[in-house]
Homo-oligomer: 307 residues x 2
């Protein structure tokens, strides 16, 4: 069969698109390698409007159930190739090929990880990638931020409202951030220690993060006891499928979309962290909204093509 | 005191902005005439990603509690005047005057009502203003759509996927809609009856909508038995405050914002249905996302102004 819509990705953007597409009665397939995107493993969510507090996995599970209850189909796998063939797109995973009249790219943008042992196991248990989301958990606590760019400094400034002590750990000789953000960080005074030319070599903890081991001693010890670790070392948006389709990307490889989540290629829409739409502000609420908008645009296309 | 941020409106956009602002530790005040915006009285919500089903009132109550728990203040009242005075904005209701360094306009866009007896009482109980939201409740049922423009025809086409019979009731001699949407409506065949030069004069029902009385008989009777009534006769965005501030509006009086929800006036942001951002697609999920973005932009301004 040829689906009305194929969605790549099952994070907040992909599954919100699936919810709306299901309600529009479009035949819809969601293809995803890993269920629930970044959100499913990120721990407790407390900044999603109208849900006081929910585990990321449960959050994505509810979205999945919403889509399934509307007849949306799910397929496992990573889409390796996508081609326009006449009036349909052909999408292939290692095992299968699917066809759809319209496509929504909602595969997110993978945050860079340190790739250390324990990092994955302790994610949401002391290790975090989203300070906007999880910073408020560390009121009065000691935290570390790994990163040397503007986002990590913005993160330190945000954490400054909550934590009592913040270590900014940077690989390079200096922190490269906007002067305005560096100035604000300076105003936090003793609360912030900047450790340059330093890397985290080990993440220690059994069920919860206990401490870090650093590549360079700080105050006579390479052990650094922290309650929380925030990793803010950038994103790697996947460019393979956008390039196969000839999509326009911005300078950071995010897909350029308009306010209707349309890309420069007809019948190809994009939503969520893979796009440039809300800049560096990448949240579940914005991803879900973009997904809803993208599905609506795909539905509008479907109606036009009927006539 | 001078608030870091004053938000006008307590619908999904306003309270999502309050949630984010609270997490940014901005001193924040929400001023609203009517709690919860359109959503609070619109009945069951089944198209908000990650919430399977919730009453509109409970939905807005959760958002309100989220904001309150973060220290956000709420004030009752309608803001009649807003003026920039030096580095702050002065906002006045009938009773009080408040000052804020930044402002988010999230006062929505009031849907036009028929202004008939029973209309308010039966809202969510057979009477609806949002077919995208509530259309799926009418699988196999008979519904009426009041309106004569493009949105009402799009609504009929959407309802065509669910309802078994749809009456499109229009005041004028003809339906003014995009040809493509009219063509699609024609394809629904007998399922749709278009009643022109006809008005709904009475909404009949005790606890649930029972029937409509029409200004002109249809098949020998002015009574029309329907299970659901959708009213799609346009919106009236409030232009008073935008005009006082000198904001740029689009041709339909929606506030023009960029992707960061900035208006043309510094330190004034807008979010939700009052804006043009996602065009005619006006949903809780998009309003909430815009609120979160607007609060983030206000927070960025606050940080800049500190230095």
């Amino acid at each position: 069969m040829i689906y009305d819509l194929i969605i790549i990705g099952s994070g907040a953007a992909g599954l919100a698109a699936a919810l709306y597409a299901g309600r529009y009665k479009m035949t819809t397939l969601v293809i995803a390698g890993e269920f629930g995107g970044e959100t499913a493993t990120a721990g407790t969510i407390e900044n999603y409007p109208a849900i006081a507090s929910i585990d990321g996995y449960d959050f994505m599970k509810t979205m999945k159930d919403q889509a399934l209850s509307l007849g949306v189909k799910l397929a496992d796998g990573r889409v390796d190739s996508i081609q326009k063939e006449g009036s349909a797109f052909k999408l292939s995973t290692k095992e299968e090929t699917f066809e759809g009249k319209t496509v929504i790219l909602a595969f997110g943008s993978r945050r860079r990880h340190l790739n250390l042992p324990n990092e994955k196991e302790l994610t949401g248990k002391g290790v975090h990638y989203c300070w906007t989301c999880d910073g408020p958990l560390y009121g009065g606590k000691t935290v570390a931020m790994v990163g040397g760019g503007d986002s990590s400094v913005k993160g330190v400034n945000f954490l400054g409202e909550y934590a009592q002590k913040i270590y900014l750990i940077a690989k390079g000789k200096e922190i490269l951030a906007e002067p305005i953000n560096l100035d604000q960080m300076k105003k936090l005074g003793d609360k912030v220690e900047v450790l340059t030319e330093t890397e985290v070599t080990t993440i220690v903890g059994d069920k919860m993060l206990e401490k870090l081991v650093l590549s360079k001693s700080y105050q006579g010890s390479s052990d650094l006891k922290v309650d929380g670790l925030f990793i803010e070392i950038g994103f790697d948006p996947d460019t393979s499928l956008p390039k196969q389709l000839g999509l326009k990307l911005d300078e950071k490889n995010y897909i350029i979309v308009d306010n209707k989540m349309r890309t420069n290629v007809s019948r190809v829409f994009a939503a969520g962290d893979a796009t440039n739409h809300f800049g560096s502000f990448k949240q579940d609420i914005t991803a879900a909204a973009m997904g809803a908008v993208a599905a609506t645009s795909a539905y509008e296309y479907k109606n036009q093509s009927k006539t």
